[in-house]
């Protein structure tokens, strides 16, 4: 693992979301248990965008959904604006959730193929009985306009008539309908063409400014995250490797895993020479994660200490925390 620890947590009034010791486990066949998220603590300030970065299977999506209690973490606290969502009764949770909305990876799967775009975007308003029918339609039109779609053209069509990028816009419009204070974006651009990715990333930035959102942005690609985030958390096999400001992490990554992730981003320059050997192999199974530091099996700097003892997060530079016995700094 990288590791657990609380050194990176901030004690300030504008922390909107504070996750404390989140554990999510799934039972798989044969009585085995997948440790999807192992004791993660992190906080997000108002107006901040926290990027959660890692490979498939590192638990980043599970962590994102655990915030919304979909499903709820096995143990741990999810403090949102001072309320622990894990302790709320069902009915209260239902209304508390509306303050946090989610945008999903697969733009096609996240829209019901049998509903028109108008119905999809208006659905959250319908659920909560907000306004009259006419009010709701006006609101839907406004939302579609804001995400760059022409309401006249799209309102009565169905999602399968649209491209991936347009579906993602529809999905964003829906997520904003209840005027949430926090938006969780789960790989919102990884299913899209590069040329469309930039449009959606810009749109998310615009929406963040317009609606004053706090964001959690989940991605496997450090390049995508760069433009949108104020704080980065790198995850590996259910643990935090490194947390810090983008400036610090991109210019001098302290964790060997972060540096490997940076090296694998394709560079659109044929003359570019990679300075490190690319990360080899794939993460081990989360059913039986390695002892000590979970990254040690693929780490170029692994030592016997790494197998024996789990590294805790500690500050290596201002606002840069790393869970590694042998950091690169």
């Amino acid at each position: 693992m990288a590791g657990s620890g609380y050194a990176h947590l901030r004690d300030s009034d504008d922390v909107v979301l504070a996750l404390r010791d989140i554990v999510v486990e799934f039972r798989v066949g044969g009585g085995r248990v997948v440790n999807a998220v192992s004791r993660i603590s992190i906080d997000v300030r108002r107006g901040e965008t926290l990027a959660i970065v890692g490979e498939s299977g590192c638990g980043k999506t599970t962590l994102g959904k655990a915030i919304l209690q979909l499903p709820a973490p096995n143990t741990g606290q999810v403090m949102f604006e001072g309320t622990d969502l894990t302790k709320l009764p069902k009915e209260q949770l239902r209304s508390a959730r509306t303050a946090i909305q989610m945008v999903f990876q697969d733009p096609i799967s996240s829209l019901d193929p049998r509903m028109t775009v108008g119905e999809i975007v208006g659905e959250p308003l319908w659920i909560w009985g907000r306004g009259s029918e006419a009010d709701r339609e006006a609101k839907v039109r406004e939302l579609l306009n804001n995400v760059g779609l022409d309401p006249e053209l799209v309102l009565h069509r169905r999602s399968y008539e649209f491209s991936g990028g347009q579906c993602q816009r529809i999905s964003i419009a829906r997520s904003l309908a209840l005027e949430p204070r926090m938006l969780i974006c789960d790989e919102p651009v990884s299913a899209l063409d590069v040329s469309i990715q930039a449009q959606i990333l810009n749109l998310l930035q615009d929406m963040k400014d317009r609606y004053g959102l706090t964001m959690v942005f989940i991605s496997h690609d450090l390049a995508v995250v760069k433009a949108v985030s104020n704080r980065i958390m790198v995850m590996y096999l259910g643990k935090i490797c490194e947390v810090g400001s983008p400036d610090a992490i991109y210019s001098k990554p302290a964790h060997h895993y972060t540096s490997a992730l940076l090296d694998s981003v394709p560079v659109p320059d044929p003359a570019y020479q990679r300075n490190n050997v690319a990360l080899q192999g794939e993460p081990p199974s989360p059913v039986a994660p390695p002892t000590g530091c979970r990254f040690r099996t693929r780490c170029p700097a692994a030592s016997p200490l790494c197998a024996a003892e789990e590294p805790l997060l500690r500050e290596v530079a201002p606002d840069q925390f790393v869970a590694c016995h042998h950091p690169r700094l």
């Binding site: 979909l70 239902r94 959250p124 309908a177």
Partner: protein
């Protein structure tokens, strides 16, 4: 969509036959045809194409044409009602099981599998035997009770067939992100099931429902042959069961109910397949 192929001749034929027999079933009693209970003593064992009795008369003196029309009512009535009720209960169980998962799901799924493991006919027969007998063997079982028992038995046969299809289909739809999205928006579970899952599962159910109608018609006919079908032997299966007794002297009493039965089952199966094919093509686009 360039894939929207025009229907073929067999599809029209199947649709035509089902419409026709449904028409007979519904409006049969209003048609200017003599009651199927009228005994035509003068025409005993009349061959087909006899004037006034175009399908012939059986050895009891019943007109076969009237019998077919009346049988359509009973056979289709039993089939549609049981598939309707069985499909409703089955899909309710299947869809909720798929949506809520967990213990409830394993219980429902196991129950479906247990029921499916017993052959349809054996199951129905066992249920009829248990439910439609009186403790006092000298007292006759009333007709309504035998009919109700028969329909309950056939419904029990249908529930797991459609239930499992509903569960499988609902399982894939519940995994879609729009369901997670609906939950995150605070939608109640019953609304999610009703608005997002049922409409997506329904087309598959309708397609398989057609196949199930065929299954029920055959099952009812088979039970009739075993003597526990619709009482009074008035369904198509019942007619076959009666006609079987004097196959040597009066084989035509068997032909027409068999043809009617076969056409109906082939039609429902064919329409079910066509609907399924159309759905598959549509799903492929989604």
């Amino acid at each position: 969509m360039s894939t929207n192929k025009t229907y073929t001749v067999p599809t029209y034929a199947a649709f035509g036959w089902l419409t026709f027999s449904t028409f007979l079933a519904v409006f049969g009693p209003l048609l200017p045809v003599e009651s199927f209970r009228t005994i035509h003593g003068d025409f005993l064992d009349a061959k087909p194409f006899t004037a006034g009795h175009w399908f012939g008369v059986d050895s009891n003196g019943y007109d076969i044409f009237s019998g077919i029309i009346n049988g359509a009512r009973l056979s289709l009535f039993v089939a549609f009602i049981t598939v309707g009720i069985g499909g409703f209960i089955g899909s309710l169980l299947g869809i909720t099981a798929a949506y809520y998962r967990g213990r409830y799901d394993s219980i429902v799924n196991t129950a479906f599998n247990v029921v499916l493991a017993v052959p349809n006919l054996v199951l129905a027969l066992a249920l009829v035997a248990v439910l439609a007998t009186n403790v006092d063997i000298n007292e006759a079982v009333p007709t309504w009770r035998r009919l109700a028992t028969l329909m309950i038995s056939l419904t029990v046969v249908i529930i797991p067939i459609l239930g499992r299809i509903a569960r499988a289909s609902a399982l894939t739809w519940s995994g879609r992100e729009f369901v997670v999205a609906a939950r995150s928006m605070g939608m109640r579970d019953r609304h999610i099931i009703w608005r997002h899952i049922v409409p997506n599962v329904l087309p598959v159910l309708i397609a398989v429902g057609f196949l199930a109608v065929g299954v029920v018609i055959i099952a009812e006919a088979s039970l009739s042959l075993l003597g526990v079908g619709i009482p009074d032997g008035a369904s198509w299966g019942g007619m076959i069961a009666r006609g079987r007794n004097d196959l040597e002297y009066n084989p035509h009493a068997l032909y027409f109910p068999i043809i009617a039965l076969a056409l109906t089952v082939i039609s429902t199966n064919h329409l079910g397949d066509v609907l399924r094919g159309r759905l598959d093509r549509r799903e492929a686009r989604l």
